[in-house]
């Protein structure tokens, strides 16, 4: 269960202060598939980053199964990101110097998981024949699938996706969505998707809409 209490994130100080997220409190239960929607700049990505431990809130608290992550040390937070959370970025963010396979295996190696079931993942994501390639040699869809594989390699309970289909053509986007839905329904993983696309959001069990940093 993920719970946030009065999450606030501001940038800057004084007059130029920008409130990206303003007192957001929400609870996401295990096995839920949630879409966070909102316009660009509404604060949805900020919310996702905070939930994923990629940023610290200015105020408020985030709980993972009643454990507050704000008080965690970097090593604990890293452990959480490594083992419990899989993050899929809009821009894939594969390390360009590593092949797709090395990118995918990186978290499993960090977590010291020997048999990570990578081959099955490749198969499921249909990138088996491309994993030896470098990201610059892959298409957007292939990169996104590699990024998803990387997010899933340590079998995290929570999968956070920031506009997972934003840079994909429709077909790829649909495949990715289907995969996420499968992960949610078949394996009971919690999936949180940030999107501005209503069509995608409607495929999720629950929609949280954010506007101007607040839940509508």
């Amino acid at each position: 269960m993920i719970k946030t209490e009065n999450l606030t994130r501001t940038y800057g100080k004084g007059e130029g202060k920008v409130v990206a997220l303003d007192g957001v409190s929400l609870t996401i239960n295990d096995g839920e598939m949630v879409a966070i929607i909102g316009k660009s700049g509404s604060g949805k990505s900020t919310l996702l980053n905070l939930i994923g431990g990629l940023d610290k809130p200015t105020e408020g608290r985030i709980f993972y199964n009643d454990k507050e992550i704000g008080s965690m040390k970097d090593s604990e937070l890293s452990e959480l990101r490594l083992k419990n959370v899989g993050f899929v970025f809009q821009f894939f963010d594969l390390i360009p110097e590593l092949t797709a396979e090395e990118n995918v295996l990186l978290p499993s190696r960090l977590a010291k998981n020997k048999d990570a079931g990578a081959d099955e993942l490749y198969k499921a994501l249909d990138i088996g024949d491309r994993v030896k390639h470098y990201p610059s040699e892959l298409s957007g869809g292939q990169q996104q699938r590699a990024a998803i594989a990387r997010a899933l390699i340590n079998s995290p309970d929570v999968i956070l996706c920031d506009e997972p289909t934003g840079n994909l053509d429709r077909a790829s986007g649909e495949e990715v969505m289907a995969l996420l839905k499968r992960l949610n329904s078949e394996q009971g993983r919690t999936v949180i998707i940030v999107t501005h696309d209503r069509g995608i959001a409607e495929q999720c069990g629950r929609i949280i809409e954010i506007s101007d940093g607040k839940i509508v």
Binding site: V18, A20, G52, D74, E97, L98
Partner: protein, 1120 residues
């Protein structure tokens, strides 16, 4: 239009049919435009956004799936554009500063990567069309568009840059967009490839601008930038420079790093060339002065004088302004020297130059001859008046040359002693140079007037042109001091230049990586390669100019410091590299031009290398198995170029520092110690004599005064009694390695112990008889035809040392008591074939000449050879204590023994003392001075610094340069990897692990560098020590053991060998005597310093690891 028609058009458009897209555009334009206008409530922006939407649609048409609704898809694009616009507009209102906006934008991950293949929009036709459009824009509009869209500046920044207000800028932008929109529509009308411009890609880049932009805006960029370049004349360069300026104003750190490297390079080259000029200037000066060939210190010489002097034969001696006087019935010459350069040649034993007219500085030789034993500050009486002794000039002041000149000058065949008396502008000293100008057939009065009038002016050299070139060439090729100094400086400068290029390359590489994005953007919007090249070229040129100007100023400043240091601290002659003397400037590269040329050449090379290397971005081989964690991390962080540059820089630092350390400390071992007896501390500190091992804290030393008369047969009188009992006793407790120069052996057989003293002409014998005392006459009379006099070297040493010779004993036994009582002496030999054995008796003695021209006192005693000692190895440190290096055999005794044997004229060259020796014990008039160990060390330091000053300074600057290159690297490297680091953190890599990894990567470099440098020094040392052995052999066979086949023509052989020795020693740096030193300590010190600096800098760069990973990731993405 029916749905089926639309589907068909889409299909055609997807296959690249532009007409089809044009039809789609016409069909949907009105609706989309209306839709957007409604959303934005802003008709102007709506028009832009509409164009933008179509541009994106055109670009992404292939992503549209079969059967999907084109209109829905198009509207979604339009919607996104509008949202983007509205959000940004909103932010524009609420945000205070650009920085905060950027931060927010980054956190919201609004940047999008360029997903288009590069060549999509880049075809010549499109570009040409776009360029033709841009012609319609006014320069002002173009500028505003470029700043605003390309450079992501806010309206207010643009306004500031253009010197106008924000409204004005907005208007300009609006008009530009309007114009471009019209142009594009016109183009579409012509069926041109509107969609071929990758608008979306551009917009992706331009998202961060404060106002939403439409396709027209993007096109404006595409049109604006090439325009400037398309006009070869007019504002082209200005605009290119403007782009450059805008870029660098946002990358100040990189700019500083780049400028710094270039400035340093320029400064180093400039400085090095000045140092080389300075060295040549100095060498030339000392060469001409010492050689005394023909330097005449004159200002612009008058024609008359030049004509007279151009007859080279007249230039025979060293120019000194010398007066003429008598003292105690003997003729003296004296003079004044007021020229600062000339005065700089004087070395004072004590005291210094006179401060006013009542003072005088006097040459040591003069004082000795006057029998004057006073010290500085005493009143001294000369026939021209009484003066206070301000300083004693040491014996090294060209005595020999002056003597020869003066000898010629006298009329009555009595020698005239030169007395470089120095007065300060004393009217009493007549100023003329009789001896020098004798050949000019001027009267002394004329000569005086001539020289005086010229001499007082500003000083310059004048060298007869006929000989100038020959002599300069000779100096350059033969004068090893200069040649080797120049060689070293040249090599070092070359290294420095290499480092600088590396450093510049490192910065360029980073800058290029950072800038690649910008350049790609320029390329996409129609910048041709040629224009990008032009931009870099102009930029390079500008940088080179800036770097050169600042670099030369720095170079001059540094050289000024070096010069002050050389003159004030190192006591080097005040000849600088900043000279206009044609004999210097004609032969050395011009520092200003040289540094400018190097800087101007190196920077484009750096750019070119960086450019090429950015093209060579190859991935490693695809291994079958994916890399493990450790290797993956390494791959993610690796940057071979920068690593190589850093390691090179560090190797240079290590190498240079090890070199400097070895030169400046006494870890360098002896050199050429077999060629002559060289007082260890006095000449090359630490060579041969181990002060610390022998517990020596102070020592007396002197240069044995020149003896006159019959070679060195006669001793000049230095004191009444020579060594006293007390002196001898005390000296036996000290480590005395003094030697008697001129004892004689009376024998009917030479025994090979010394060369026979032959009295020459009848005149000489007459002179000797006329001047000898009755004792001397009796001695000379009693020399019968059987016995002859042999000049014999005798060495005095202390008991302790004599006892230590036990292990070299080959015959007899050492009895120090008998040595002290004068009964016995030791024979020290080099070869296992002694001319005498133990128990044999010989007659030794000495003759003392009070006035140098006759024998006043004689001692002659029988002595037994107590023992024979064999010192076979010539380089053995022991040999210094008991052998005169050029002799095969020496007699050795202790101080008391010498005294008992009546060797009363004994002079010591050195007395090394374990404890304090009372100065009064030193034989009076021997001119011995006390030096402490630490003074000697300091002198040795200064000596070495003088010798290698230029090189050391270059090494120092080199190290600075190396450090700069290295430091540049550390921060840049980690900053460049911010993206990779952020991704690793995002996927769960603990920060501690990343820190460890980065730290290890950083520290690895100094480690590798230290090992490489250490190995380099060791290898060089190995090669050099082998070369040194070879050199030794060559030297011996040249000067000591000349092979039989060359004995008929020794001088030609030696000349040839000397050349070989020179080139050999130059090739292996033998003169530096540093290669025999131990590089462990310096390498270790430098290693530790480098490690500390590395750790600190690396830790400092860890500051960028904030908890805001998402922000860092966005920043990293942007940088990529």
């Amino acid at each position: 239009m029916e749905k089926i028609e639309i589907t068909a058009l889409v299909k055609r458009a997807k296959s690249g049919d532009k007409d089809a897209f044009l039809q789609l555009y016409k069909e949907f334009h009105g609706r989309v435009s209306f839709f957007i206008r409604r959303l934005t409530n802003d008709p102007q922006a709506a028009a832009d956004l509409t164009s933008d939407t179509f541009a994106a649609a055109m670009e992404r048409i292939n992503e549209l799936r079969f059967g999907e609704s084109f209109s829905g898809w198009l509207y979604s694009i339009a919607y996104n554009k509008c949202m983007q616009y509205i959000n940004e507009k909103k932010r524009n209102v609420t945000l205070g500063s650009e920085a905060e906006l950027e931060e927010l934008l980054e956190s919201a991950a609004l940047n999008e990567p360029l997903l288009l293949p590069d060549d999509y929009a880049i075809n010549a036709e499109t570009r040409a069309q776009l360029q033709s459009i841009i012609d319609g824009l006014s320069p002002d509009q173009r500028s505003a568009v470029i700043m605003y869209y390309y450079d992501e500046m806010s309206v207010s920044e643009v306004a500031e840059a253009m010197g106008t207000n924000e409204n004005n800028v907005s208007q300009k932008l609006h008009r530009a967009r309007k114009k471009i929109r019209a142009q594009i529509e016109k183009l579409i009308g012509k069926g041109a490839m509107f969609g071929a411009v990758p608008m979306r890609a551009l917009l992706g880049e331009l998202d961060t601008s404060t106002v939403g932009i439409a396709a027209a805006g993007a096109a404006a960029i595409a049109l604006g930038i090439p325009y400037g370049l398309s006009k070869a004349s007019g504002g082209t360069a200005r605009e290119l420079l403007w782009i450059t300026r805008k870029y660098w104003s946002k990358h100040k750190k990189s700019l500083f790093a780049l400028l710094f490297s270039g400035v340093l390079l320029c400064a180093v080259v400039c400085c090095a060339l000045f140092v080389i000029r300075g060295e040549l200037n100095r060498t030339m000066n000392s060469f001409f002065d010492v050689q005394g060939e023909f330097d005449l210190i004159l200002p612009e010489p008058s024609k008359e004088l030049i004509e007279k002097l151009s007859n080279e034969k007249t230039l025979t001696g060293m120019m000194s302004v010398i007066g003429h006087a008598h003292y105690n019935d003997e003729a003296y010459e004296y003079g004044t020297i007021s020229d600062p350069d000339e005065l700089a040649h004087l070395y004072f034993e004590s005291g210094g130059l006179p401060k006013d007219e009542s003072e005088a500085a006097v040459h040591r030789g003069v004082l000795d001859r006057m029998g004057y034993t006073g010290k500085v500050g005493d009143r001294i009486s000369l026939d021209i008046g009484e003066f206070t002794l301000s300083g004693i000039i040491s014996g090294s002041y060209g005595t020999v040359e002056l003597t020869s000149i003066c000898m010629e000058a006298t009329e009555d065949n009595r020698p005239v002693y030169p007395i470089p008396l120095i007065f300060l502008k004393s009217d009493k000293a007549p100023l003329y140079s009789l001896t020098m100008l004798k050949g000019l057939s001027l009267s002394p009065q004329e000569a005086t007037a001539l020289v005086y009038s010229e001499y007082e002016e500003n000083v310059a050299y004048w060298i007869p042109s006929a000989k100038q070139n020959d002599e300069l060439a000779k100096v350059q090729s033969e004068h090893w001091e200069f040649r080797s100094a120049r060689e070293q400086i040249r090599k070092m400068t070359l290294l420095a230049a290499v480092i600088a290029v590396l450093s510049i390359f490192a910065v360029c590489k980073t800058v290029f990586a950072e800038r690649e994005h910008t350049v790609a953007l320029l390329y996409r919007i129609g910048f041709s390669k040629r224009r990008i090249f032009c931009m870099y070229a102009i930029e390079c040129l500008l940088f080179a100019v800036i770097q050169s100007v600042i670099g030369i100023l720095f170079g001059l400043l540094i050289y000024g410091g070096i010069y002050c240091f050389q003159v004030n601290v190192l006591d080097m002659l005040p000849y600088s590299g900043i000279t206009f003397a044609s004999y210097i400037t004609d032969f050395t590269a011009d520092p200003i031009c040289g540094s400018v040329i190097v800087t101007t050449v190196v920077l484009p090379i750096g750019y070119a290398l960086a450019g090429i290397s950015s093209k060579l971005r190859t991935h490693g081989k695809r291994a079958k198995k994916p890399a493990g964690l450790r290797k993956s991390l390494s791959k993610a962080f690796s940057d071979k170029y920068i690593a190589v540059i850093q390691v090179s820089a560090l190797v240079m630092i290590c190498f240079g520092s090890a070199l400097a350390y070895m030169i400046f400390t006494d870890s360098g071992k002896t050199h050429l110690n077999y060629t002559d007896y060289i007082p260890a501390a006095d000449y090359s500190f630490g060579s041969g004599f181990d002060f610390e091992q022998d517990g020596i804290s102070e020592y007396y030393s002197t240069q044995v005064p020149e003896t006159v008369g019959f070679g060195s047969f006669l001793m000049t009188k230095t004191s009444e009694n020579g060594i006293t009992d007390e002196t001898a006793d005390r000296f036996e407790d000290a480590v005395c390695t003094g030697r008697l120069e001129s004892t004689f052996l009376l024998s009917d057989n030479s025994h090979g112990l010394g060369s026979e003293i032959v009295f020459g002409s009848a005149d000489e014998i007459a002179l000797l008889y006329d001047n000898s005392s009755p004792v001397g006459k009796a001695f000379l009379d009693n020399l019968n035809s059987v016995s002859r006099l042999y000049k014999c070297r005798t060495v005095i040493s202390d008991r302790q040392f004599v006892n230590s010779l036990e292990k070299y004993l080959i015959r007899g036994r050492i009895d120090t008591e008998k040595l002290s009582s004068g009964e016995e002496m030791l024979l020290v030999v080099r070869s296992d074939d002694p001319p005498l054995t133990e128990g044999q008796r010989i007659k030794v003695g000495s003759a003392l000449a009070n006035d140098s021209y006759g024998i006043d006192e004689v001692s002659l005693n029988d002595v037994t050879i107590g023992a024979v000692v064999l010192i076979p190895k010539i380089i053995d440190r022991i040999s210094k204590h008991c052998l005169c290096s050029t002799d095969e055999y020496n007699l050795l005794t202790v101080s008391n023994g010498a005294r008992k044997l009546g060797l009363f004229g004994a002079k010591y060259t050195e007395i090394f003392s374990r404890s304090h020796i009372d100065g009064s014990l030193i034989p009076a008039g021997s001119g011995m001075t006390l030096s402490s160990y630490s003074d000697a060390k300091q002198n040795a330091f200064i000596h070495k610094a003088t010798q290698y000053g230029g090189m050391i300074l270059i090494v120092f600057i080199l190290s600075l340069l190396g450090f700069a290159a290295y430091f540049n690297g550390i921060g840049l490297k980690i900053r460049q990897k911010e993206y990779q680091i952020s991704v690793l953190r995002a996927v769960g890599t603990p920060l501690a692990r990343l820190r460890r990894k980065l730290m290890f990567d950083s520290i690895k470099l100094p480690m590798i560098a230290s090992v490489v440098a250490f190995a380099g020094v060791k290898t060089a040392a190995f090669i050099s020590s082998r070369a040194y052995e070879k050199y030794t052999e060559m030297y011996i066979s040249t000067f000591e053991m000349i092979p039989d086949e060359y004995k008929s023509n020794v001088s030609a052989y030696q000349d040839e060998m000397r050349q070989k020795l020179h080139s050999f020693s130059d090739r292996y740096f033998i003169h530096n005597e540093i290669w025999l030193a131990d590089p462990v300590i310096p390498t270790l010190i430098v290693f530790l310093i480098m490690c500390t600096v590395t750790v600190l800098l690396t830790r400092r760069s860890f500051r960028m690891f904030t908890p805001d990973i998402a922000g860092a990731l966005a920043r990293g993405r942007k940088r990529r």
